[in-house]
Each structure stands twice: as structure tokens, then as C-alpha cells.
Symmetry: D2
Subunit: 221 residues, 4 copies
């Protein structure tokens, strides 16, 4: 059991409420309203801006050149991902102006600033545990949504999004993030600290679940 | 017009949505459900813990001993206020254990971490503008709720809370915070910067409005 | 062996170069030039301003109310100590203006900003280990300089300074700081982390030794 | 007069003590002892590690994607520069192990942590003003050392180092940094703030001068 699996086990209900959220189910079942997905896409872009800041914070807090280079690679990857995101938004009829001028939803503020504050107040391990539901969780969700592989998705309306996270490239990113968590834990995790980290992980998972809920709420109005 | 009045004018709708929120109206009209008020009280305690951290951050970021002593006085005042808060909670049937073990609501996380992040990423002026809706806004709300003075409240169920913020001591705190904002602005506020600060102030006001809304939402369930 | 003793043992040479520095020896032997002491006093005042910031940072980074209150007490104590310091300076013919307008020496910048950076980039344990040579070391130096007790100092020219740190009140402060270090270590210190902390502690001790050296260097010119 | 020229004019003596330091003169006159240059090279590598952290901090503190991308480009450039640095060290007989295990000199700690603390406690403008003596100053020094152009250096023993900073690529980096400073100042610099920034700039320049002095001091021993 690696650290990530231990965190999931320790915060099982919170984790389940996130990875198995109604938004994810409907997305998998092709029934998610397009308005919900569009809302999510726009907020996810604003989310990525703050996530880039989180990786910059990780770079700043690094003690070794190796940690620094790894965090900087994460930062560069996110800034690149934002260009892809703009293209995906474009295919859903959202112009760059719509995205950048959209106000941040409370759910976006809550999760992103929580992560940044965990990182500012704590150390690299706190920061990466707070990031884990997003970075590693999306890989699990992508895998869950493709039990028969990506090709079986056929003309699934959310095929592009699902393949992104179910695909090998992203699965590798998540696997590397799990190993990095183990490495950080080997350096700085006592058992007492694990208990604190599990609370933090559960809280971050609930904030991610609220991020999905925001998409559904907007569509219902 | 001091800086605070300029910020209010520039973000008038957001400000109004906060100081004139339905929660505040019902509280003034004695019709606010007790469940809503209790939810608010508990979350406000968790809120104060983060606000104490914000004043500690202001102390850390101070350039002059005068700024440092002022921020430290704010920090001490909040830590003292928390004891009062525990007593107020007690009168509403909430034991210290109920309060400290309560999970933070998303609205609490969103506003408090937003303020802390404004302060960590920006300077003292950013931090104090983000704090202003709370620190200065509560004085305005207290005044609005006592058009005929505190004595006219009679046996108002929320008399203790209203008098706290309508009272002279808190009005003085808010007046000092306004002067401090003017002083910080005289040092570091260009007109371009004012435009950015007004956006920040509007966002903080909306997050405060969502904090009231959280109380109503819980009571409705 | 508590954590502090382990750190001392692991960085024995660096520690010795600090607590047994020529400045300290001359101070104990009554032969320290007054110019050296005056230079030290002024820089120590500038040092305390940054140390107050370090305790504010510790308050900001605290996870529990107990940690927060302890850090805030440290902050308040330092701000109070600064008033005492001004009085001590006065008895050495240094006016408040001389002190506050004095430029920070490189040795002052190096140690204080190193401590603040350890705290900003790391966690509370890093911060308190970086502070330890100062906070706990001064108690050891005070004790070393009073092998026959404070009364035996007689008309020692540096009696006031020595008694301050050899006195019971400061010895208690240092003892509490040692216990706090043990408590933080019980939460977050693995053996791998101890190795990193010992490096940090050795570096902080050398920077403290350079702070003494600065006093001697100025007197020699 | 751009902001950088105004800062130089306001802190003229400090600036001169840095760009016209004896180390620079001897380097230009081919008389600088190799031991002084080697010491400098090793410490400059340790310096760059902290400077990479400063650009990561700038990325984290950015408000706009444009600022974020600019800071991230700076970060990437420094991490790349470190590889070049290792090669330059190699030509001076310094193995990577010599460099990475070298202890940081007090002068290195003082300037780098001062910059990082300016950035952590202040805003982007504070951070970039503290970085300016290094980023922009090296271009001025490079230009000063090549009054007849780079080709006229002939078989100058420090030709490689001088050409690096006198070369067009680095001159462009410095010109961009000056424009960025003007842009940040247009957003957030009042006249009162300029006075504070000039003090900060003077202090940073003196810490840079001490960094040169460290090289000479080591060679003299």
C-alpha cells in the first residue's frame, strides 16, 4: 500500500463522494447536461491558473535541485495544458474572452486557495497531499470511466475529456505523482503526521466533490 | 471620501449583496431561524482562527515597527475575541467541543483562504482590503441594525450579537481600520492599483455574502 | 537526550564556534572592548525586529490554537523585550535614533533572513530549529558565564546583559523552547529529517558565530 | 529616465561600490587572482539555486497569466544557466561535487535570503527591485568591461565570463528586466513608495558588493 492508497483508505467516504460523484456518473453515462460541462470547463480553466501557482510555490519551497526541477516541470506542464484547455473550450463554443473574464465560483476559490494555503503554511508534503485528489484522482476517474478501454467510448459526447485522463500520458503523470508522494513521506512522515495528512486529504476530496456539484447546480437553475 | 468609501462605491452591488443580505435582514427583523444563527456562530469561530492567522501574516509582512505593533494588537484582539465567542456559543447551547470539531463549511474555507492568499501573494494593502468587508463591514451592519440605538433593541433575540458590533468599542476598531487603509493607500496606491483593489474588494464582499447564505441554507434543510 | 541535545551533538563544531566564540570569552573575562559591545547591541536590536517577524510567521503557520497562542506569546515577549533593549542601549549612550537608523550589518541580514526563509520555505519545525541557536543558545551562554551564580558577577561591566540571560526567567523561556522542539519533533521528525535539520542547525550556529565576529571586527578597525 | 536609472541615481554610492568594486576592476585588468574567481564561481552557483527560487516565488505571486509566464521563463532560464555554470566551473578545474557540497558563504546567504524575504514580505515590485542589482547590474558590468567590444578582449583570462554578460543575449535579458520594472512601477509605485524602494535597492547593491568582497577576502588568506 503506497501513501496514496493509505490516504484513500483513511478518508474513504470523502474520497468516494468525490470520485463517484453524480457529475462523474452522468458524465460517464452520457447524460450530463452540456451546461453543467461548460460551467465545469470554464471554472477548471480558472482552477488551472491557481494550480500553476501551487507548482510555483512547490518550486520555491524545494530544498534540492531535483525537487525544484520536478516542480518546475509540473508548472510548465500546467501552463501548456492551459493552451489545450482553451482549444477544448473552443470546441464547446466558449471563446477565450468568456473564460478569462468569468468570475471564479465559490467552489473554485475554496479548493484552490485551500491548496495554496496548505502549501504556504505547511511543507512540500502538505502541499502535495492537498494536490493529490486532483492530480492523482483524475487518473482514477479516467480509468473508472473506461472499463473497456478508450476505444470503446465510440462517439461518447465527453470522449475527448475522458481520453485525456484515461490516456497513458496522464496515467504516467499520476503514477509519478504517487511515487513523489512516497518519496516525500519517506523523508518527513511520522505516523502522527499521517493522521493529520489524512484529515487534510479528506477535506481536499470534499472540496473537489463540491467542485463537481457546482457544475450540476448551475445546470439545474 | 476615504479609500473604504471609494471601494464600496466601486463595488456597490457586491457590497449591497453582503451588508443587506437576507440573513442580516431576518436577523434584524427577529425572524432569523435559530438553526441559521447557530450554524453561523460555529462557522464564525472557525473563521476567527483563520483571521488570527491573517493578522499574524500582516505582522510578518510589516516593514515598520509601528505597522508590526498594530497588526500584533489585532492578532491579540482576535485571540481574545475567541474566548468571548465561546461564551456566546455557550449561551446558544453550543459546547466548545461542538465548535472545535465542526468541519469547516465551503463558504468558510472560500473567504478565509482567499484573504490569506491575497495577503501571501500581495502586500499589506491587498491583505487589508480583503479583510475590510469583515472588519469594517460588521460595524456598518451593526449600525444599520440599530437605527434607534442599542437600547431600543429591548429583548431582541440577537441583541447580544448586534450590540457587540453596534457598540462604541467595535465602531472605534472599524474607524481605526479605515484610517489604516488610508495610510497604506497613501504609501502604495496608484489609480491603476485602485482598480485592481476594487475587484478584490468586490470578490471578498461576495464571499462574505455567501457566508451569510450558508447559514440560511443549513436552516432550510 | 532531547532533540536540542541531539542537534548540538550532530553539529558539535559549529555549536562550539558559536557558544565559545572569542566575543563571548572576552565578554565573560571583562576584556571585551566597549565598541564591540555597542556594535552588538545596536545590531541585536535590528535582529529583534526580524525575530518578531519570525514569531509572527510561526503564528501564521500554526495548525492548532495552542501552537498559535504559544507563538503569539513569543511575539509579544519580543516586542516587549525591544523596549528593555532600548533602555539598555540608553545606558550605553545609544539614543533610540542611533539604533533605528543604523544600517543592518551583513551578519545581521544573513542570520535573520536565513531563519525567516527556513520558516517560509519549510514548516514550524524548520523554523524553530533555525531559531534555536539564538533562543536556547543564549541561555547556555548565560549559564556558562555564571559558573558561581549571578551574584558572583559583582561589578562586572556586562553584568546586566549576563544576568538577563543567566536569570531564571530566561532559563525558563529556553526550557520551554526545548520542550516545544521535542513536541514538534514528535509530530513531524523522521530520522532522515533529523539529518537535514542538523545541517540547518549547524548553519544557523555558524551564522550566529559570525554575528559575534562582527562585533569584534568593528572594534578592531 | 526609467525606474532603474532613478534607483541608481537615488542610491549612487551604494551602486558605485558594487559595479566598480575592486573585484570587478581586477577582473577587467586581468589581475584578479584565480583563487578569488574560483571562490566566486562556486558561490555564484549556490546563489543561482536561490535565484531560481526567487523566480518561482515571482511566479507564485503573479496576478496575471502574462506575469506568470514571464516569471516562469525566468525560472527556466536560470535552471538552464546552471548547466552552463557547471561547464564553466569544469574549465576552472571545479568538479560538480566540489560545487554542490560547498558551504554557502555568509555573503551568499545574506544577499539571496534578503531578496527572497523582500519578495515574501512585499509584492512583485519589491522582489524585482531587490533582484535588479544582479539581473540588470551584471549587464552594466559586462558593458563597462568591454569598452572596445568583446573581440578586443583577445586572450583575456576571464573572457568567457565577460562575454557572457557583455553579449547581446544577456543585454537583451537586462533590457527586458528594465521594461518589466517600469511596467510594475506604473501599476504600483507612488512617490512615497519610490523612496522605500530606493533604500531597498541601495541595500541590495551593498550586499552584492560584499559578494565581490568575499572573493577577494578568500584569495588574500
Amino acid at each position: 500500500m503506497d501513501v496514496f492508497d493509505r490516504l484513500k483508505a483513511a478518508a474513504a467516504d470523502d474520497w468516494q463522494s468525490y470520485v463517484d460523484h453524480e457529475f462523474v456518473r452522468q458524465l460517464g453515462a452520457r447524460t450530463l447536461p452540456q451546461a453543467a460541462f461548460r460551467t465545469y470547463l470554464v471554472q477548471d480553466y480558472l482552477f488551472l491558473i491557481q494550480f500553476a501557482r501551487a507548482y510555483a510555490l512547490a518550486t520555491y519551497k524545494s530544498r534540492t535541485l531535483a525537487d525544484m526541477r520536478m516542480a518546475q516541470a509540473g508548472l510548465t506542464a500546467i501552463l501548456d495544458e492551459m493552451d489545450l484547455h482553451v482549444r477544448l473550450c473552443g470546441r464547446w463554443g466558449l471563446a477565450p474572452e468568456d473564460i478569462e473574464t468569468a468570475p471564479e465560483h465559490q467552489a473554485t476559490v475554496a479548493y484552490t486557495r485551500f491548496v495554496l494555503d496548505c502549501g504556504a503554511a505547511g511543507d512540500l508534503l502538505d502541499l502535495h497531499v492537498a494536490l493529490a485528489p486532483c492530480v492523482i484522482g483524475y487518473a482514477e476517474i479516467g480509468r473508472n470511466l473506461t472499463p473497456k478501454g478508450i476505444d470503446a467510448l465510440g462517439d461518447h459526447p465527453y470522449r475527448e475529456w475522458i481520453s485525456e485522463y484515461a490516456g497513458e500520458a496522464y496515467q504516467d503523470v499520476a503514477a509519478a505523482a504517487r511515487r513523489h508522494l512516497d518519496d516525500l513521506a519517506a523523508r518527513a512522515m511520522t505516523e502522527r503526521r499521517f493522521t493529520e495528512l489524512a484529515v487534510l486529504f479528506g477535506k481536499a476530496s470534499r472540496l473537489e466533490a463540491s467542485f463537481w456539484q457546482m457544475g450540476l447546480d448551475v445546470a439545474e437553475r
